[in-house]
């Protein structure tokens, strides 16, 4: 039964409200803070991208100096991975997963708060580097060595001042926050489920957050270790990456990518979760092949740990080394493909409703598939020898990150905003957002494959005319305008709907998972009565007592 919470209007002073949010351990507030924090950094990241694309729109451009350009691409990548994508995905997981499993909160609420504040301070520390800048003598400026911070560029000899330390310490802090989150997700999903919710009856989002938590534990830790080694090198005179003492800089690459590759699966698995929730509801069908989806996700988690050196094909590993990683990278595409087939099979024969969340979900399906295919292209080592470090790689990963992750995040916003705020987002504005962003995304990133194939390297601040790259770069930069406009529409939609949107009620989408059984927004305690479930779609059972799911599962 839906809880009938009657909100008490208590007048709180502004200071009390601030204190409440600063000291909260409630998963819904923490989830919201993660999401808002990430959105702020998304805007910053977008501005960095705009500046770079303005610089690259023309050949021989002098809009930005090479030093500033280097800082922009470093911060764009670092911010995007650690302070936009991870917080926003962890934020949604934090908010929704306890509700979905009928729990009162996450397993470790205070650890949850700790994780958020570590991440938050990490981001502030990274951007503090802009202010520390060249104005303080020898203090260094914002990091400028790329988001993978390859040794020996980050050594004390080649990165004077504290540039590298800003990168190192801010990510270290963020990493600790992420590990805290990982522990929390695993513990929550395993130990906080409501009665009747066996692992086999959890929503797929709960399964995926379980795999996410486990993957975070083994993914972030190698980076933490490598960063400790880097600090030892820079300050204690250690020789981990010191070639003159016999050390190896390729070892940094190995350790970084042992983190870096599973990290992208850490980013995409929550997106798979969003799609697995949205597609069934808007096809009016239960997800096709639940067990296969679980198995595929778990195997992606494991296989992703064995593919890292496909980022190092051009380093000169022996042929059997390259071959091994070509094969494992291709293997990881198999469970991913299974998931795509299952989503398509869910759509097949369904009664599809193209509300905004579904439009973004369908966009995800197409775009993630194409991004995956260019990934397989790059997985073929000889192909990568030509295309490695070119704009083809940039186009590939932006396809999966923007076309995949960003689209699924938008879908998640349109789907769960009503639950979190009690108001629907405006559908008309949503459709405008979708179409304009779609056009912008494709203008920018479809075209970028071509300069890559024509040989344009990444991370160059400008290029000479006459190489055939200009027209593609210009088109790509024009696409940014569309994406910017679309994001502004989205932000306006969120603000306006928050203030005067249509009230959503408990269950505006006629969905089936437990978060829709409570009010929008949920009361602090989530559920007045602990729910008991008997199938994968508890709300379907409640709404259709004559034909419950547990008869068929």
């Amino acid at each position: 039964m839906a809880s009938e919470a009657v909100p008490l209007t208590i007048h709180k002073s502004p200071l009390a409200v601030v204190y409440e949010w600063l000291g909260t351990a409630d998963h819904k507030k923490i989830g919201s803070m993660y999401i808002v924090y990430a959105l702020l950094f998304l805007v910053v990241m977008g501005i960095e991208a705009c500046l770079m694309r303005i610089q690259l729109a023309h050949a021989n451009s002098t809009f930005l100096s090479p030093q500033v350009f280097n800082r922009l691409f470093t911060l764009h990548g670092t911010t995007g991975v650690f302070f936009v994508a991870m917080p926003i995905l962890v934020g949604f997981g934090n908010y929704i997963v306890p509700l979905m499993i009928g729990a009162r909160d996450m397993a470790y609420p205070r650890l949850n708060a700790f994780g958020f504040w570590m991440t938050a301070f990490g981001g502030l520390l990274l951007y503090g580097s802009f202010f520390a800048g060249a104005s303080i003598a020898q203090a260094g400026a914002a990091p400028d060595f790329g988001w993978f911070a390859y040794a020996p560029l980050t050594s004390a000899a080649f990165s004077a001042g504290h540039t590298a330390d800003y990168w190192n310490l801010s990510i270290l802090l963020g990493g600790v926050g992420s590990i805290a989150g990982g522990i929390n997700f695993v513990a929550t999903v395993l130990t906080m489920r409501c009665p009747g919710m066996t692992l086999n009856k959890m929503p797929l989002m709960a399964w995926m957050n379980l795999v996410l938590g486990g993957l975070i534990l083994v993914t972030i830790s190698p980076l933490t270790a490598a960063q400790m080694m880097l600090m030892a090198d820079r300050y204690l005179g250690a020789h981990f990456f010191d070639v003159q003492a016999g050390g190896s800089v390729v070892m940094w690459m190995h350790f970084f990518w042992i983190f870096g590759h599973p990290e992208v699966y850490v980013l995409i698995i929550p997106c798979f979760a969003f799609i697995s929730e949205v597609v069934p509801v808007f096809s009016r069908k239960a997800i096709f092949g639940y067990p296969a989806m679980v198995a595929a996700t778990v195997s992606i988690g494991f296989v992703s740990l064995g593919v890292w050196a496909h980022h190092m094909f051009t380093v000169g590993m022996p042929s059997y080394g390259n071959a091994f990683f070509v094969l494992t990278t291709m293997v990881v595409a198999v469970p991913t493909g299974i998931k795509i087939f299952n989503w398509l099979a869910t759509l097949w024969g369904g009664k599809i409703r193209f509300a905004t969340p579904m439009m973004f979900a369908v966009g995800f399906l197409f775009q993630f598939l194409i991004g995956g295919l260019t990934g397989i292209t790059l997985a073929t080592a000889p192909f990568d020898w030509q295309l490695g470090n070119s704009y083809f790689v940039v186009a590939h990963f932006h396809y999966v990150i923007v076309g995949g992750i960003m689209f699924s995040i938008f879908a998640a916003f349109y789907y769960w905003f009503p639950k979190m705020t009690g108001r629907m987002l405006n559908e008309t504005l949503g459709k405008w957002h979708f179409w304009i962003f779609l056009i912008g995304f494709h203008l920018t990133f479809d075209t970028l494959h071509i300069p890559g194939l024509l040989g344009m390297p990444r991370r160059i601040y400008t290029y000479e005319a006459g190489r055939g790259w200009e027209i593609w770069n210009m088109i790509s930069s024009i696409g940014v305008i569309f994406q910017g406009v679309a994001v502004l529409i989205f932000v306006y939609n969120m603000v306006a709907s928050f203030i005067k949107g249509v009230p959503a009620g408990n269950d505006p989408w006629d969905a089936w998972t437990l978060e829709w059984a409570t009010t929008s927004p949920p009361p602090e305690y989530n559920f007045a009565v602990v729910p008991e479930v008997h199938s994968r779609r508890p709300l379907w059972d409640i709404k259709h007592p004559e034909d419950p799911d547990w008869k068929y599962e």
Binding site: I183, A187, T191, P222, G237, A238, G246, F255, K551
Partner: protein
């Protein structure tokens, strides 16, 4: 057709979920193991690759006493928990103290060994690749032992104040998982540094 009753209210079996503390601690152990794995990988990769400076054989003395103490401390910890479960709080305090003492002996032994290597042999983290990887790996382990000793001391204080009761067994078990992990890491580090790498 369904053969089950139309109305399922009470579940057949009581609803059992894994222990929150144990799952959380195991997750922490997994993350820490990953960190140690990277340091071990660096150590193993750099075996024999130092360009100069002392070799392991020249400076390392196998810490037999310390190792025996640390590994035995896992056993005494286990006995302590068993005693607490049976409400023998006096025995629990005794075994807990022995665990703490054995851990302290290990750390003091390491400190003495390091003091000799640094001041007598002039062998530091800066000396060569062996120094870098040795001090970072063994040091990382030692820092985990110290954190464990802090926890052990806290519980010791509570036990001496008479605050530790049989109902706290589960919590002590969660802590003991951490201590057993520290021991297991030492087995790996010892094997890598003093057996494999010498």
């Amino acid at each position: 057709m369904s053969a089950t009753s139309a109305n399922i209210t009470a579940s057949e079996a009581p609803w059992q979920l894994p222990s929150r503390g144990k799952v959380g601690m195991i997750c922490l152990i997994i993350a820490e193991s990953a960190i140690f794995t990277i340091f071990v990988a660096a150590y193993v990769f750099y075996i024999g690759k130092s360009l100069n400076g002392p070799t392991p054989r020249e400076v390392l003395k196998v810490p037999v006493v310390g190792t025996i103490c640390l590994l035995s401390s896992s056993l005494t910890m286990h006995w302590a928990i068993a005693a607490l479960r049976k409400a023998k709080t006096g025995l629990f305090s005794l075994f807990w103290f022995v665990t703490l003492a054995l851990g302290a002996i290990f750390i003091i032994g390491t400190a003495i060994e390091w003091r000799h290597m640094i001041y007598q042999d002039g062998f530091t983290i800066q000396t060569n690749l062996f120094g870098t990887t040795y001090y970072s790996l063994v040091g990382l382990h030692a820092s985990h032992v110290i954190v464990g000793l802090v926890g052990l001391t806290l519980v010791m204080i509570f036990a001496l104040l008479g605050k530790v009761k049989p109902e706290h067994t589960e919590r002590c078990e969660v802590f003991s998982l951490y201590w057993h992990f520290v021991d297991a890491v030492w087995v790996v580090v010892f094997t890598t540094v003093y057996i494999l790498g010498r």
